[in-house]
Structures are given as structure tokens and as C-alpha cells.
Amino acid sequence: MRLGLITKAALLLAVLPAFGFNVLVHAQRGGRGGPGAAPTPRASAPFDLAGQWVSLITEDWRHRQFTPPKGDYAALPLSPGGRKLADSWDPARDEAAGEQCRAYGAAGLLRLPTRIRIAWQDDTTLKLEADAGTQTRMFYFGAPQGSGGDWQGLSSATWHAPRAPFPGRGGGAASGGSLKVVTTRMKPGYLRKNGVPYGANAVLTEYFDRFDVPGGDSLLVITSELVDTENLLTPYWTSQQFKREDGKTGWNPTPCAAR
């Protein structure tokens, strides 16, 4: 049996909702904002990030557990300008200038041996505290608050899942997803404690994913991309692992150290 044009169009209209409608239903499902309102970022979280997490330094171990020697830039895509800055690293100068926290800025902080605590400050803001250097990062869903310019810069957060650019052709958005955080307006700091620099125009993009290992630990993996055309020839990609803890022990806030 051959279908006429009008019949085909009717069928298409009937089928389309099946491909796009469901996403809309979910997107409009009531969260804490009340019936009909979009769910808050907190309510729509695909997983629970809250709690205490300890870093697992299993990669770049020597460069992360210890301060590398001056000039040790292995694997870093440093530009000539970035190398020149790194070669001028002087921890005494940083100490004298009160800038011991250069390696504790957003682009370097989560590479350090540290524990972090993540909590919802409100329905649209996540707070991440690190005991290394006693630092705090704020992730804002929606417009970031503040003007940046400090070690942790300004961070915008979204829930991110692979998604087709246009709805209605099957596929669409994947379930689950990651916390995506984009940080800008950071005070210039160090990627590594031995003075490898990033600048004020650097853009840090991070994806936070949680995995529960069967019969074992809960892991937080933070995949990061740093784009800094002044100091790096290419984007700098790393991923950091953390393991969930009960939070009763281990938390040990320490001041920044330049060496």
C-alpha cells in the first residue's frame, strides 16, 4: 500500500512528539521552583557531588606531590613567552610579594594533593573548598557573582550532556551528564608549583563526573582544558581523580606555600 502525501505528513506530525516531546516534558518538570517552573540546578543535578573528596595523585606524580625543579616543564605545551616567564620563577620573590598562592589558583588547585569539600550554597551555587592553600571556588549556575581577578576567578556552571544541535530527528540529549564549569578572569598563577604560568586571559573549562565503582569507591573525575594563548601553544588537557570520604577525618587546611 502506498501512502499519499497528506497521509505521510499526518504520520510525521504524529511521530514528531515522540522524538522531541519527552525532552520538553522533562525540562518543564516541576523542581523546587514550584509547579510549571523549571527545576533549579540543584534539583536537576544528575548526580550528587556533595561531600568530601581526596585527590588520588596517580599521574604526573613527581610534579604534583613535590615542587619540581626550575625548568622541568615536561609535557607542557609552553609557548616561548610562557617558557620565559617560567624560567624567571623565584619563590622567594613570590613570598616577598605575598603571592605564595600562585600555584593554588583555579587552573592549578585541583592538581595539588588536597581534599576538597563540595556543597550547595543555595539552589544555584556550588561551593568547592580545598584544604590545600585553604581556597574556595564558587560555581554559579546563571550569572556569576563578583568581578573576578582573584586566584579562583569567575566560574559559570551548567549541567552538560551530549546533545544534538537540532531536536526532532531522533537522538537528542543523552541521559546523565556532567557538571561543566567555565572559569575566566583568574589572577595570573601557576599550573605547576615551579612557576609554569597561566595568564589573566586564560579560560579554564572543567567537566565534573561521578562514578560509583561496583562494590567500591565513589570517584569524582575532573577533566579540564586550559586555553591560554599567551603562555601555551595548545590547549592543556588533564584529568584529575578524587575519591569520596566520609568527611570525618583528613581535612587539614593549610596555608599556601610557594615552594
Binding site: H26, P46, S55, R62, A174, D209, P214, Y236
Partner: protein, 625 residues
Amino acid sequence: MKSVQASICAGLTLLCVTVSGQAPQIPTAIPGQAPPVDLSGYWSPVLHEDLMERGAGSELADYGGFPLNEAGRLWALSYDPSRVTLRHHQCEAYLAPYQMRALGNFRIWEEREEHTQRLVAIHVWAQTTEGHRVIWMDGRPHPPAWAPHTFRGFSTGQFVGSALVVRTTHMKNGALRRGNGVPQSDQATLIEYFVRHDDHLTDVTVVTDPVFLSEPIVRSNDFYRQPVDPGAWLYACDDGEQILDRAKDDVPHYPFGKQPFAREFAARYKLPLASSLLGGVTMYPELAARLRTVNDAEANALFAPARGRAAETSTGVDPEPHDGNIHIWPVRENVYMLVGDGGNIVVQTGDQGAFVVDTGAGTLSGKVIAAIRSLTNQPIQFIANTNFRPEHTGGNAALGAAGQDPSLPGSFFFVQSPRAVTGFFDDPLKHATMMAHANVQVRMQAAGAPADAVPADTYLEDRRRKFHNGDAIELFFQPNAVTDGDSLVYFRRADVIVAGDIFTTTQYPVIDVKTGGSVQGLIAALNNILDRTVYRHQGEGGTYIVPGHGYLADEHEVVEYRDMVVIVRDRVKALIGAGASLQQVKAARVTADYDTQFGANTGAWTTDMFVEAVYTSLRTATAKR
């Protein structure tokens, strides 16, 4: 509206966004589950982390960030990188966890069932070592414990949210870290999470290894998407002579405490000597505080086994099913391995009668016979014993009585040589012919075994050969290996070697010095196996070796076992040379890096007994000279 949503969700789960405060859990595998995110394509690794390991290779004694237990640390310290010059180590592929960190590009594609388009598997191909991983998505179970291991292991996957979660078992022994000896055992399990963020793919690996790690190690590998085929997908490797005139029992390794480069890493980077040797704590922020408590004596003690500590015992899974059943594992062509009645049994079938190698402990002979009958309607015609031990000959009488040798009735010899004359050719239609080295017959008769359990068809030197069921079968005598009557049984066309107790995957070799075993003979026997093996690809596959106990192996397991026996022998030999007594040799814990694989402190064969056997056979050899 709610019911509409529910029905759509049920039919189109891809579009259902799960909103929950709960962390994802791995659900039961959904066979053929449609992928919520596409991982297919060409992917190149980002090498911004661990460049030294992934490029030139890790520095010796750089074990920082690895939760090695004592066995793992000592195994790595004993490792001499020149071991890769040995023929059988030259082309070894990477284990799955390191494969994903290797330099080369990757290609990922889906395999779908033609008519239903259900997802069957996700394939990963790595340029380096032609690493092909198959991640089964169709819900199939993992193989049993007696199945062969491979470098990439056996992987199954399922999607959780937008992450592909993969579980891999059945990996071989190998390197967890490239180039400096950090080991991963054949008992390791790998869990992975593949997550795609636009054109950025992250593979999080969690390796759990009860043999060498005190806790799981978590690492992650990053990839960027390549829009075009980067090519160069092959990685040819054939082994060859790299050092001429090297003795076959020369395995490069360092004695405990005498790794000449072990202190270079810390010195070069001005790190505390103990910093990279402390195992699990090296992963955590507590390392700095821990290092403040380590004095020089404690640091130096990390290079050798801890004194006074009881020997560790094997943490491996016992491949024996212990379920009262006989399990059949097809080896190749018409050769099968039967597992469940003590020692492994091998059956070759064809248009002639079954050729059986070893008969198990004899506690499940009825089920063994039933298993053989399920493989062939021909009788059991021949039984070969690899040695005289009860777990390999215990079923001789029962299996022999269940068989017959139709090649004898009517033959000239049978007519001329009735039982009254030879004692052997009695009622061949009521009994299989049993063959073994003559010393098996002697030992069994001396032990009072019933006549119908004792091999009558024996040989004295070199080999016994027989063409049967279309294959050339050879029994090779291995003098003074674990006993004085060991044979390897080689199915040439099928390319399967039955090793008996010369090789196991589960325990130290049971060298019975009192019945003629010796460590030198055992090493020679293991090398004789390796002289006959040919791997199929990148150091694995090809010739199969059926161990006396344990899982079906190939040459890789044998060469690792050979290395272990040589290394332990060398340590004992060195101590004897220094005048050590047996007690002093035992106290030196010469097997400390292998005990979590093979050790036992109780049972019929303990670590102490193995060390004593090595010591005694070396002392005996010295005395003879």
C-alpha cells in the same frame, strides 16, 4: 499527560533525562542496549600527563602514585628491563590498562547484529601493538576461571547515563606501568568509564589487583577526536636473537637489595629515598607527613623483603570449580580440556578412539567418562599420563575400564603375546591402552597401585610418538623435572601441549626431590615447552599449553613461570654460595615477590617446601660435581 510521558519513556529511553540526587549505579546489563552517546571514530591520546612513562618509558624505581604492596614493590625492584631482550618477551602486547595510555591513535566502532541492529560489541583498536579490544554489549557472561587469559582480557560493557562502563577480567600478567617493572597480575580486574565531552573523550581506569596492589589504582586517559583516519594501524613484531650464546636459563633480574639504579630516581630529583616506594600513601596528601617519619634505615629496608614477616599466601582465584561437576573447555580443533577432578584432563577425539591425557584424581571418574562420551561416540582408546601423581592418574582404572583399544585384537602381536606371556595384552577390548614414561609405571607399582591403573605401554628415553585421530602426538620425556617420570604431551596439528605438573598457574612447582625432581630439570622442561611454542600475535595465542592445574595458557604464562623458577633458583644459589643454611635461605624470603601469586603456608605444598626443594636439588647437584 503523565501516562503519555511514561509510555514515551518506556519506548524511547534515550530521551528520558533521569533527574535524581542519587549517584549512578551499574544496572544489570541490557543486551544490545542502544548507546546513548556515540564513541565511534578516530581518537588521539592527549599526552599532557605521564609523558615519561608513555614516551621513553618510566624511570627505574619510580613507583610513586602506585599502591604497590610488598610483593609488587619487590617484583618491580627485581625487574631488569633487559628482560625484554629474551625472545619470548620481545613482542608482548600491552595489558588493557596500559594499552589505553599508549602513544598511538585509537579507532572505535560499533558491531551491530544485521537484522535487528542491536548493539553486539564496541571495538577499540590501538595502533600500538595492534591492540584490539572487544567490549561485548550483548549481555554475555564472563568466561570461567579456567578460560585463557589475554593481554586485553575479556570485556563487557553497559551504558550508565552517558558513560560507557566496562568490566575486564582474564588479563595476563604484565606491566601496569611501562618500562620499569611495576607489575599487574593475572588476577587483576579493570573497571573503566568512558565519558565523552563533545570532542574530548576520557577513559577512567580502575585497576584492582589483589596480588600486587594494596588498593585500587585510578587513572584517566584523555583523547581528542580526529576528523580523518590517521592511518598506520599495524604494528609488526617478530622476535629474534638479540644476545647471542645466552644460556636458556639466563633471565635478567636484580637480586633483592642490589638493584644498582634503584636510588638514582630519588637522587636525580632530590626526593627522599623512600618517597616512591611507600605504596598506597604515595597517592594521598598524607605523603609529605609520612615521609617526615621515615628514617634512613626504614628507607633502605624497602629495597628487600621485610625480615621476620610470615610468608604471604596466594590471593588468586582457584580455577578449580569445586562444584562436583566436570566442565569441558574446547581448546582447539578436536582437543578439549576437562576441569573439575583435581588435575586437568585433556581429551582428543576423532574417527578413532579418544586419546586422553591424565585422568584426574578419580573422584569424579563417572562424570569424566560421561563428559568424554558427550564429545565422541568412540571409546577411550589411549590414556597417557604426564606423571605418576594421584591427581593425574587417579582415574586411570575407571577410564581405562570404560575404554577399549580396537587396534590390538587380531594383530600379530596380540595373537602371539597373550597375557600369560606379556602380562599386557589381556582383553584389549575391555580396556584402553595406557602409556607413560617407564618411571611412572615403576613408581605406581612401588606405591601398590592396582594393575589396571598402571600404564603398560611405556618408553624410556626422549619420546614416544603416535599418529592418532589425524594428528601427530608426541610424548617428550622431561628428565628430573618435578619427578623422574614427567612427559609433555604434544598434539602437533592442534598445536596443544599438555604440561602436567611441570607447569601450573596456581602454585609453586611441586618439585619432589625424593622421586627424582630437581629445579634444574624443571627449568629445562619449561624451556623445552618454550622451544615448541609459536605465538599467534604479539606474544599471545598460538600454541596452547594445558597446565597440570589452573587455566588454559599460552607461552606467555609459561615464560613468566619459567622466569619465576629461574629467579628463585638464582637467589637460592647465591645464598648457598654465601654459605647460607636452609633455615637462612627460608628466612631470606626468596619468594617474597611471588608469594601473593603462588604461595601457601598450609596444605600439601607450601612455599617452604618449594624453597627447600630448590635448595636441596641445588645442594645435591653441587655435591654430585
